[in-house]
Amino acid sequence: MTALQFQGVGVTFASADGAREVLRGIDLQVAPGERVALLGRSGSGKSTLLNLAAGLLRPTQGQVIYDTPPRVGYVFQDARLLPWLRLDQNLALVSPPEYHPDIPSALTRVGLAGRGSDYPGQLSLGMAQRASLARALLIQPNLLLLDEPFGALDELTAGELRNQLSRLLRQQPVTTLLVTHHPGEAVLLSDRVVVLGGQPTQLLGELKIDLPPSRDPDDEGLLRLVRELRGLIHTAD
Protein backbone atom coordinates (compact mmCIF):
# COMPACT_ATOMS: atom_id res chain seq x y z
CA MET A 1 0.00 0.00 0.00
CA THR A 2 1.33 3.40 -0.90
CA ALA A 3 -0.33 6.73 -0.28
CA LEU A 4 1.93 8.59 -2.64
CA GLN A 5 4.39 7.44 -5.23
CA PHE A 6 6.98 9.23 -7.35
CA GLN A 7 7.85 7.13 -10.39
CA GLY A 8 10.94 8.16 -12.32
CA VAL A 9 10.05 11.79 -11.78
CA GLY A 10 12.15 14.44 -13.49
CA VAL A 11 11.61 18.17 -13.66
CA THR A 12 13.17 20.55 -16.14
CA PHE A 13 12.48 24.27 -15.95
CA ALA A 14 12.80 26.55 -18.91
CA SER A 15 15.40 29.19 -18.17
CA ALA A 16 16.96 32.11 -20.00
CA ASP A 17 19.90 29.96 -21.16
CA GLY A 18 17.77 27.06 -22.38
CA ALA A 19 16.59 24.45 -19.89
CA ARG A 20 17.60 23.66 -16.33
CA GLU A 21 17.14 20.09 -15.20
CA VAL A 22 16.39 20.26 -11.49
CA LEU A 23 15.24 16.73 -10.61
CA ARG A 24 16.03 13.41 -12.31
CA GLY A 25 14.77 9.88 -11.82
CA ILE A 26 13.13 10.35 -8.45
CA ASP A 27 11.59 7.08 -7.22
CA LEU A 28 9.92 7.39 -3.87
CA GLN A 29 7.08 5.52 -2.23
CA VAL A 30 5.34 6.83 0.83
CA ALA A 31 3.12 4.50 2.84
CA PRO A 32 -0.18 5.74 4.31
CA GLY A 33 0.53 7.54 7.55
CA GLU A 34 4.27 7.45 6.93
CA ARG A 35 6.28 10.59 7.62
CA VAL A 36 9.19 11.14 5.27
CA ALA A 37 11.78 13.86 5.78
CA LEU A 38 13.56 15.28 2.75
CA LEU A 39 17.04 16.58 3.37
CA GLY A 40 19.12 18.46 0.84
CA ARG A 41 21.05 21.57 -0.01
CA SER A 42 19.45 24.88 -0.78
CA GLY A 43 18.35 24.95 -4.40
CA SER A 44 18.38 21.16 -4.71
CA GLY A 45 14.69 21.00 -5.57
CA LYS A 46 13.01 20.17 -2.27
CA SER A 47 10.23 22.74 -2.65
CA THR A 48 9.82 21.58 -6.23
CA LEU A 49 9.24 18.04 -4.93
CA LEU A 50 6.53 19.27 -2.58
CA ASN A 51 4.88 21.23 -5.39
CA LEU A 52 4.80 18.01 -7.39
CA ALA A 53 3.19 16.19 -4.46
CA ALA A 54 0.61 18.98 -4.10
CA GLY A 55 -0.23 18.78 -7.80
CA LEU A 56 0.86 22.38 -8.38
CA LEU A 57 3.47 21.24 -10.86
CA ARG A 58 3.46 18.49 -13.47
CA PRO A 59 6.61 16.42 -13.78
CA THR A 60 8.49 16.72 -17.06
CA GLN A 61 9.22 12.98 -16.85
CA GLY A 62 7.62 10.15 -14.92
CA GLN A 63 4.56 10.50 -12.78
CA VAL A 64 3.21 11.20 -9.33
CA ILE A 65 0.55 8.71 -8.26
CA TYR A 66 -1.88 8.95 -5.34
CA ASP A 67 -3.72 6.12 -3.68
CA THR A 68 -6.75 8.35 -2.97
CA PRO A 69 -7.31 11.91 -4.16
CA PRO A 70 -5.29 13.86 -1.63
CA ARG A 71 -6.64 16.53 0.65
CA VAL A 72 -3.47 18.56 0.88
CA GLY A 73 -2.40 20.65 3.84
CA TYR A 74 0.56 22.68 2.69
CA VAL A 75 2.82 24.74 4.91
CA PHE A 76 4.78 26.73 2.36
CA GLN A 77 8.32 27.91 2.93
CA ASP A 78 6.88 31.44 3.19
CA ALA A 79 3.64 31.49 5.17
CA ARG A 80 1.41 32.59 2.25
CA LEU A 81 -1.41 33.93 4.35
CA LEU A 82 -3.68 36.41 2.61
CA PRO A 83 -2.65 39.79 4.04
CA TRP A 84 -6.14 41.28 3.62
CA LEU A 85 -7.80 38.63 5.79
CA ARG A 86 -7.57 38.18 9.54
CA LEU A 87 -5.99 34.95 10.78
CA ASP A 88 -9.34 33.36 11.57
CA GLN A 89 -10.62 34.36 8.12
CA ASN A 90 -7.49 32.90 6.51
CA LEU A 91 -8.24 29.63 8.23
CA ALA A 92 -11.96 29.80 7.45
CA LEU A 93 -11.31 30.39 3.77
CA VAL A 94 -9.63 27.02 3.17
CA SER A 95 -11.88 24.90 5.37
CA PRO A 96 -15.50 23.73 5.11
CA PRO A 97 -17.97 25.48 7.46
CA GLU A 98 -18.21 22.54 9.85
CA TYR A 99 -14.55 23.13 10.79
CA HIS A 100 -15.00 26.82 11.55
CA PRO A 101 -15.86 26.32 15.25
CA ASP A 102 -12.44 24.60 15.59
CA ILE A 103 -10.50 27.63 14.38
CA PRO A 104 -9.78 29.17 17.82
CA SER A 105 -8.48 25.86 19.18
CA ALA A 106 -6.46 25.27 16.00
CA LEU A 107 -4.74 28.60 16.64
CA THR A 108 -4.27 27.78 20.31
CA ARG A 109 -2.54 24.51 19.44
CA VAL A 110 0.22 26.41 17.62
CA GLY A 111 0.58 28.98 20.41
CA LEU A 112 -1.54 31.70 18.81
CA ALA A 113 -4.37 31.76 21.33
CA GLY A 114 -6.52 34.86 20.96
CA ARG A 115 -4.69 36.15 17.87
CA GLY A 116 -7.48 35.21 15.44
CA SER A 117 -8.45 38.79 14.77
CA ASP A 118 -4.89 39.86 13.91
CA TYR A 119 -3.90 40.50 10.33
CA PRO A 120 -0.85 38.60 9.01
CA GLY A 121 1.05 41.91 8.77
CA GLN A 122 0.78 42.22 12.54
CA LEU A 123 2.59 38.92 13.13
CA SER A 124 6.26 38.07 13.33
CA LEU A 125 7.65 35.74 10.68
CA GLY A 126 7.61 32.79 13.04
CA MET A 127 4.04 33.50 14.15
CA ALA A 128 2.91 33.68 10.53
CA GLN A 129 4.59 30.34 9.93
CA ARG A 130 2.72 28.84 12.88
CA ALA A 131 -0.58 30.26 11.61
CA SER A 132 0.20 28.62 8.29
CA LEU A 133 0.73 25.32 10.16
CA ALA A 134 -2.61 25.76 11.94
CA ARG A 135 -4.28 26.32 8.58
CA ALA A 136 -2.77 23.15 7.13
CA LEU A 137 -3.76 21.01 10.12
CA LEU A 138 -7.28 22.45 10.38
CA ILE A 139 -8.50 20.88 7.16
CA GLN A 140 -7.69 17.35 8.46
CA PRO A 141 -5.41 16.66 5.51
CA ASN A 142 -4.53 13.17 4.35
CA LEU A 143 -1.31 14.55 2.88
CA LEU A 144 0.66 17.09 4.89
CA LEU A 145 3.45 18.99 3.15
CA LEU A 146 5.83 20.93 5.38
CA ASP A 147 8.47 23.09 3.70
CA GLU A 148 11.05 24.07 6.32
CA PRO A 149 8.26 24.98 8.73
CA PHE A 150 10.70 26.32 11.32
CA GLY A 151 13.32 27.72 8.98
CA ALA A 152 12.53 31.30 9.96
CA LEU A 153 12.82 30.72 13.70
CA ASP A 154 15.55 30.95 16.30
CA GLU A 155 16.83 27.60 17.62
CA LEU A 156 15.05 27.99 20.96
CA THR A 157 11.59 28.58 19.51
CA ALA A 158 12.20 26.09 16.73
CA GLY A 159 13.07 23.47 19.34
CA GLU A 160 9.85 24.08 21.23
CA LEU A 161 7.77 23.98 18.06
CA ARG A 162 9.41 20.76 16.88
CA ASN A 163 8.29 19.08 20.07
CA GLN A 164 4.86 20.62 19.66
CA LEU A 165 4.56 19.46 16.05
CA SER A 166 5.74 16.00 17.08
CA ARG A 167 2.86 15.91 19.59
CA LEU A 168 0.36 17.27 17.07
CA LEU A 169 1.32 14.66 14.50
CA ARG A 170 0.89 11.93 17.08
CA GLN A 171 -2.63 13.20 17.84
CA GLN A 172 -3.45 13.60 14.18
CA PRO A 173 -1.46 10.98 12.23
CA VAL A 174 -1.16 11.86 8.58
CA THR A 175 1.04 11.03 5.61
CA THR A 176 3.69 13.71 5.73
CA LEU A 177 6.51 15.05 3.58
CA LEU A 178 8.78 17.26 5.65
CA VAL A 179 11.48 19.37 4.01
CA THR A 180 14.26 20.46 6.30
CA HIS A 181 17.93 21.44 6.51
CA HIS A 182 18.11 20.24 10.07
CA PRO A 183 19.15 16.58 10.68
CA GLY A 184 17.84 16.63 14.24
CA GLU A 185 14.45 17.85 13.08
CA ALA A 186 14.37 15.17 10.38
CA VAL A 187 15.04 12.39 12.86
CA LEU A 188 12.65 13.75 15.49
CA LEU A 189 9.70 14.14 13.16
CA SER A 190 9.94 11.35 10.60
CA ASP A 191 9.85 7.60 10.10
CA ARG A 192 12.35 7.80 7.25
CA VAL A 193 14.84 10.39 6.06
CA VAL A 194 15.64 10.72 2.38
CA VAL A 195 18.81 12.53 1.35
CA LEU A 196 18.75 14.45 -1.91
CA GLY A 197 21.75 15.70 -3.82
CA GLY A 198 23.73 15.74 -7.03
CA GLN A 199 23.42 17.68 -10.21
CA PRO A 200 20.60 17.33 -11.26
CA THR A 201 19.18 16.25 -7.94
CA GLN A 202 18.60 12.56 -7.29
CA LEU A 203 17.90 10.43 -4.24
CA LEU A 204 21.29 9.68 -2.72
CA GLY A 205 20.33 7.59 0.26
CA GLU A 206 17.87 7.01 3.04
CA LEU A 207 17.76 6.21 6.70
CA LYS A 208 14.97 4.38 8.49
CA ILE A 209 14.11 5.95 11.82
CA ASP A 210 13.15 3.07 14.11
CA LEU A 211 12.12 5.01 17.16
CA PRO A 212 8.93 4.99 19.23
CA PRO A 213 6.36 7.65 18.22
CA SER A 214 6.98 9.60 21.41
CA ARG A 215 10.51 10.95 21.11
CA ASP A 216 12.87 13.02 23.16
CA PRO A 217 15.29 15.17 21.13
CA ASP A 218 18.02 14.47 23.71
CA ASP A 219 17.46 10.72 23.73
CA GLU A 220 20.68 8.76 23.12
CA GLY A 221 19.16 6.54 20.41
CA LEU A 222 17.85 9.58 18.57
CA LEU A 223 21.20 11.36 18.77
CA ARG A 224 22.93 8.25 17.40
CA LEU A 225 20.62 8.34 14.39
CA VAL A 226 21.34 12.05 13.89
CA ARG A 227 25.06 11.26 13.83
CA GLU A 228 24.45 8.43 11.38
CA LEU A 229 22.43 10.78 9.20
CA ARG A 230 25.21 13.39 9.25
CA GLY A 231 27.61 10.70 8.07
CA LEU A 232 25.23 9.72 5.29
CA ILE A 233 24.96 13.34 4.14
CA HIS A 234 28.78 13.64 4.10
CA THR A 235 29.38 10.52 2.07
CA ALA A 236 26.53 11.47 -0.27
CA ASP A 237 28.10 14.85 -0.88
Binding site: G73, D78, Q89, Y119
Partner: protein, 251 residues
Protein backbone atom coordinates in the same frame (compact mmCIF):
# COMPACT_ATOMS: atom_id res chain seq x y z
CA UNK B 1 -8.34 68.69 10.50
CA UNK B 2 -6.90 66.43 7.78
CA UNK B 3 -10.33 65.19 6.84
CA UNK B 4 -12.24 68.47 6.69
CA UNK B 5 -10.11 71.39 7.82
CA UNK B 6 -7.32 71.38 5.27
CA UNK B 7 -9.52 70.52 2.29
CA UNK B 8 -11.81 73.43 3.28
CA UNK B 9 -8.83 75.75 3.55
CA UNK B 10 -7.67 74.51 0.15
CA UNK B 11 -11.10 75.27 -1.31
CA UNK B 12 -11.00 78.71 0.26
CA UNK B 13 -7.61 79.35 -1.35
CA UNK B 14 -9.14 78.45 -4.73
CA UNK B 15 -11.85 81.07 -4.23
CA UNK B 16 -9.28 83.63 -3.10
CA UNK B 17 -7.05 82.93 -6.10
CA UNK B 18 -10.09 83.21 -8.38
CA UNK B 19 -10.98 86.61 -6.85
CA UNK B 20 -7.40 87.82 -7.21
CA UNK B 21 -7.36 86.77 -10.85
CA UNK B 22 -10.59 88.72 -11.38
CA UNK B 23 -9.01 91.77 -9.72
CA UNK B 24 -5.99 91.37 -12.02
CA UNK B 25 -7.83 90.83 -15.29
CA UNK B 26 -10.89 92.96 -14.60
CA UNK B 27 -14.41 91.63 -13.90
CA UNK B 28 -15.52 92.00 -17.52
CA UNK B 29 -12.72 89.72 -18.77
CA UNK B 30 -12.78 87.24 -15.92
CA UNK B 31 -15.87 87.42 -13.70
CA UNK B 32 -15.37 86.73 -10.01
CA UNK B 33 -17.01 84.01 -7.89
CA UNK B 34 -19.89 86.25 -6.77
CA UNK B 35 -20.77 87.30 -10.34
CA UNK B 36 -20.59 83.70 -11.45
CA UNK B 37 -22.82 82.56 -8.60
CA UNK B 38 -25.38 85.20 -9.54
CA UNK B 39 -25.37 84.00 -13.11
CA UNK B 40 -25.58 80.39 -11.94
CA UNK B 41 -28.50 81.27 -9.70
CA UNK B 42 -30.47 82.41 -12.75
CA UNK B 43 -29.47 79.37 -14.77
CA UNK B 44 -30.35 76.69 -12.24
CA UNK B 45 -34.01 77.74 -12.45
CA UNK B 46 -34.10 76.84 -16.13
CA UNK B 47 -34.85 73.30 -17.27
CA UNK B 48 -32.50 73.74 -20.24
CA UNK B 49 -29.53 74.12 -17.91
CA UNK B 50 -30.20 70.81 -16.19
CA UNK B 51 -30.91 69.25 -19.56
CA UNK B 52 -27.41 70.09 -20.77
CA UNK B 53 -25.81 68.96 -17.52
CA UNK B 54 -27.85 65.74 -17.62
CA UNK B 55 -27.01 64.82 -21.20
CA UNK B 56 -23.29 65.42 -20.59
CA UNK B 57 -23.30 63.37 -17.43
CA UNK B 58 -25.12 60.59 -19.29
CA UNK B 59 -22.51 60.59 -22.06
CA UNK B 60 -19.66 60.59 -19.54
CA UNK B 61 -21.12 57.59 -17.72
CA UNK B 62 -21.99 55.61 -20.86
CA UNK B 63 -18.47 56.01 -22.28
CA UNK B 64 -16.98 55.19 -18.87
CA UNK B 65 -19.11 52.05 -18.53
CA UNK B 66 -18.42 50.90 -22.09
CA UNK B 67 -14.67 51.44 -21.71
CA UNK B 68 -14.62 49.39 -18.49
CA UNK B 69 -16.92 46.67 -19.85
CA UNK B 70 -14.65 46.19 -22.86
CA UNK B 71 -11.34 47.07 -21.25
CA UNK B 72 -11.54 44.71 -18.26
CA UNK B 73 -11.85 41.46 -20.26
CA UNK B 74 -9.44 42.79 -22.86
CA UNK B 75 -6.83 43.66 -20.22
CA UNK B 76 -7.41 40.29 -18.53
CA UNK B 77 -6.70 38.47 -21.81
CA UNK B 78 -3.65 40.63 -22.47
CA UNK B 79 -2.32 39.82 -19.02
CA UNK B 80 -2.86 36.08 -19.32
CA UNK B 81 -1.90 35.38 -22.91
CA UNK B 82 1.59 36.37 -24.09
CA UNK B 83 0.56 35.44 -27.65
CA UNK B 84 -2.47 37.72 -27.68
CA UNK B 85 -0.48 40.42 -25.93
CA UNK B 86 2.23 40.26 -28.60
CA UNK B 87 -0.38 40.39 -31.35
CA UNK B 88 -2.24 43.30 -29.76
CA UNK B 89 0.95 45.24 -29.07
CA UNK B 90 0.85 47.42 -32.22
CA UNK B 91 -2.86 48.12 -31.75
CA UNK B 92 -2.28 49.30 -28.21
CA UNK B 93 0.72 51.36 -29.23
CA UNK B 94 -1.41 53.14 -31.82
CA UNK B 95 -4.30 53.55 -29.42
CA UNK B 96 -2.09 55.03 -26.75
CA UNK B 97 -0.11 57.44 -28.92
CA UNK B 98 -2.68 58.65 -31.45
CA UNK B 99 -3.70 62.20 -30.51
CA UNK B 100 -7.12 61.96 -28.89
CA UNK B 101 -8.50 64.86 -30.88
CA UNK B 102 -7.64 62.96 -34.05
CA UNK B 103 -9.77 59.98 -33.03
CA UNK B 104 -12.63 62.29 -32.09
CA UNK B 105 -12.61 64.33 -35.27
CA UNK B 106 -12.17 61.26 -37.49
CA UNK B 107 -15.19 59.67 -35.85
CA UNK B 108 -17.30 62.79 -36.53
CA UNK B 109 -16.11 62.83 -40.16
CA UNK B 110 -16.65 59.13 -40.75
CA UNK B 111 -19.78 58.40 -38.69
CA UNK B 112 -21.32 61.86 -38.75
CA UNK B 113 -22.04 64.56 -36.19
CA UNK B 114 -24.10 62.31 -33.99
CA UNK B 115 -24.32 60.54 -30.66
CA UNK B 116 -22.94 57.29 -32.02
CA UNK B 117 -19.77 58.98 -33.25
CA UNK B 118 -19.18 60.70 -29.92
CA UNK B 119 -19.68 57.59 -27.80
CA UNK B 120 -17.65 55.37 -30.14
CA UNK B 121 -14.76 57.80 -30.31
CA UNK B 122 -14.55 58.37 -26.58
CA UNK B 123 -14.87 54.69 -25.74
CA UNK B 124 -12.02 54.03 -28.18
CA UNK B 125 -9.99 56.78 -26.55
CA UNK B 126 -10.49 55.34 -23.07
CA UNK B 127 -10.11 51.68 -23.99
CA UNK B 128 -6.32 51.32 -24.42
CA UNK B 129 -5.57 53.00 -21.09
CA UNK B 130 -8.01 50.73 -19.28
CA UNK B 131 -6.73 47.61 -21.02
CA UNK B 132 -3.08 48.39 -20.35
CA UNK B 133 -3.62 49.08 -16.66
CA UNK B 134 -5.67 45.91 -16.19
CA UNK B 135 -2.96 43.98 -18.07
CA UNK B 136 -0.30 45.24 -15.69
CA UNK B 137 -2.43 44.42 -12.66
CA UNK B 138 -3.06 40.90 -13.95
CA UNK B 139 0.65 40.39 -14.65
CA UNK B 140 1.54 41.43 -11.14
CA UNK B 141 -0.87 38.94 -9.54
CA UNK B 142 1.16 36.92 -7.03
CA UNK B 143 1.53 33.36 -8.39
CA UNK B 144 2.43 32.15 -4.91
CA UNK B 145 -1.02 33.07 -3.61
CA UNK B 146 -2.64 31.35 -6.58
CA UNK B 147 -0.58 28.24 -5.76
CA UNK B 148 -1.82 28.41 -2.19
CA UNK B 149 -5.41 28.56 -3.45
CA UNK B 150 -4.84 25.58 -5.73
CA UNK B 151 -3.06 23.52 -3.09
CA UNK B 152 -5.99 23.98 -0.70
CA UNK B 153 -8.46 23.28 -3.54
CA UNK B 154 -10.30 26.57 -3.19
CA UNK B 155 -13.35 26.86 -5.39
CA UNK B 156 -13.24 29.16 -8.39
CA UNK B 157 -15.57 31.66 -6.74
CA UNK B 158 -13.61 31.76 -3.50
CA UNK B 159 -10.34 32.15 -5.38
CA UNK B 160 -11.80 35.05 -7.33
CA UNK B 161 -13.39 36.77 -4.41
CA UNK B 162 -10.68 36.35 -1.78
CA UNK B 163 -7.41 35.80 -3.65
CA UNK B 164 -7.60 37.56 -7.04
CA UNK B 165 -9.99 40.46 -6.58
CA UNK B 166 -8.27 41.93 -3.49
CA UNK B 167 -5.04 42.10 -5.49
CA UNK B 168 -6.75 43.85 -8.42
CA UNK B 169 -9.01 46.08 -6.37
CA UNK B 170 -6.67 49.04 -5.76
CA UNK B 171 -5.81 49.17 -9.47
CA UNK B 172 -9.45 48.89 -10.46
CA UNK B 173 -10.47 51.77 -8.21
CA UNK B 174 -7.62 53.99 -9.34
CA UNK B 175 -8.44 53.07 -12.91
CA UNK B 176 -12.10 53.94 -12.45
CA UNK B 177 -11.19 57.37 -11.10
CA UNK B 178 -8.76 58.18 -13.89
CA UNK B 179 -11.11 56.88 -16.57
CA UNK B 180 -14.06 58.85 -15.24
CA UNK B 181 -12.13 62.09 -15.25
CA UNK B 182 -10.73 61.46 -18.73
CA UNK B 183 -14.18 60.54 -19.99
CA UNK B 184 -15.58 63.83 -18.72
CA UNK B 185 -12.83 65.87 -20.34
CA UNK B 186 -13.18 64.11 -23.67
CA UNK B 187 -17.00 64.33 -23.70
CA UNK B 188 -16.90 68.10 -23.19
CA UNK B 189 -14.32 68.31 -25.93
CA UNK B 190 -16.48 66.25 -28.27
CA UNK B 191 -19.55 68.36 -27.50
CA UNK B 192 -17.68 71.53 -28.45
CA UNK B 193 -16.94 70.10 -31.89
CA UNK B 194 -19.75 67.81 -32.81
CA UNK B 195 -22.89 68.11 -30.70
CA UNK B 196 -25.67 70.62 -30.22
CA UNK B 197 -26.35 69.78 -26.58
CA UNK B 198 -24.43 69.30 -23.40
CA UNK B 199 -21.98 71.28 -21.32
CA UNK B 200 -19.36 71.40 -24.07
CA UNK B 201 -21.85 72.80 -26.54
CA UNK B 202 -23.00 75.47 -24.06
CA UNK B 203 -19.40 76.42 -23.28
CA UNK B 204 -18.73 76.99 -26.97
CA UNK B 205 -22.03 78.88 -27.23
CA UNK B 206 -21.05 81.25 -24.40
CA UNK B 207 -17.58 81.49 -25.90
CA UNK B 208 -19.08 82.91 -29.09
CA UNK B 209 -21.10 85.35 -26.98
CA UNK B 210 -18.02 86.41 -24.98
CA UNK B 211 -20.00 85.40 -21.88
CA UNK B 212 -17.28 84.21 -19.51
CA UNK B 213 -19.76 83.85 -16.66
CA UNK B 214 -21.60 81.12 -18.54
CA UNK B 215 -18.40 79.18 -19.14
CA UNK B 216 -17.43 79.43 -15.47
CA UNK B 217 -20.93 78.54 -14.25
CA UNK B 218 -21.04 75.27 -16.20
CA UNK B 219 -17.47 74.56 -15.19
CA UNK B 220 -18.29 74.98 -11.50
CA UNK B 221 -21.36 72.75 -11.58
CA UNK B 222 -19.70 69.94 -13.53
CA UNK B 223 -16.65 70.10 -11.28
CA UNK B 224 -18.90 69.73 -8.25
CA UNK B 225 -20.79 66.76 -9.70
CA UNK B 226 -17.66 64.94 -10.84
CA UNK B 227 -15.88 65.63 -7.57
CA UNK B 228 -18.81 64.00 -5.81
CA UNK B 229 -18.55 60.91 -8.07
CA UNK B 230 -14.79 60.78 -7.58
CA UNK B 231 -15.27 61.23 -3.86
CA UNK B 232 -17.58 58.21 -3.89
CA UNK B 233 -14.90 56.11 -5.58
CA UNK B 234 -12.27 57.43 -3.16
CA UNK B 235 -14.53 56.49 -0.26
CA UNK B 236 -14.85 52.96 -1.66
CA UNK B 237 -11.08 52.65 -1.80
CA UNK B 238 -10.68 53.88 1.77
CA UNK B 239 -13.03 51.23 3.10
CA UNK B 240 -11.19 48.31 4.63
CA UNK B 241 -8.64 50.87 5.88
CA UNK B 242 -5.40 48.87 6.17
CA UNK B 243 -5.95 46.89 3.02
CA UNK B 244 -7.69 48.37 0.04
CA UNK B 245 -10.05 45.53 -0.50
CA UNK B 246 -13.51 45.13 -1.94
CA UNK B 247 -16.11 45.63 0.78
CA UNK B 248 -18.47 43.01 2.07
CA UNK B 249 -18.76 39.44 3.26
CA UNK B 250 -16.78 36.89 5.20
CA UNK B 251 -14.98 33.94 3.70
Amino acid sequence: MLRWGWPLLGLLSVVVAWSLLTRLLGPSTFPGPVDTLHFLNEQVRKAAFWGHIGITLWRVLVCFALALALGLPLGWLLGLSPVFSAFAGPWLAIGLTLPRILILLSAFLIVGLNEKALVTAITLILLPTVAVQVREAVRSLDPRLSDMARAFRLSRTKTWRWVILPQLWPTLLGLARVTLSLSWKMVVFGEVFGRTSGVGYMISFYFQQFEMRGILAYGVVMTLILSALDGGLAWLSRRGSTWQQPPGGEP
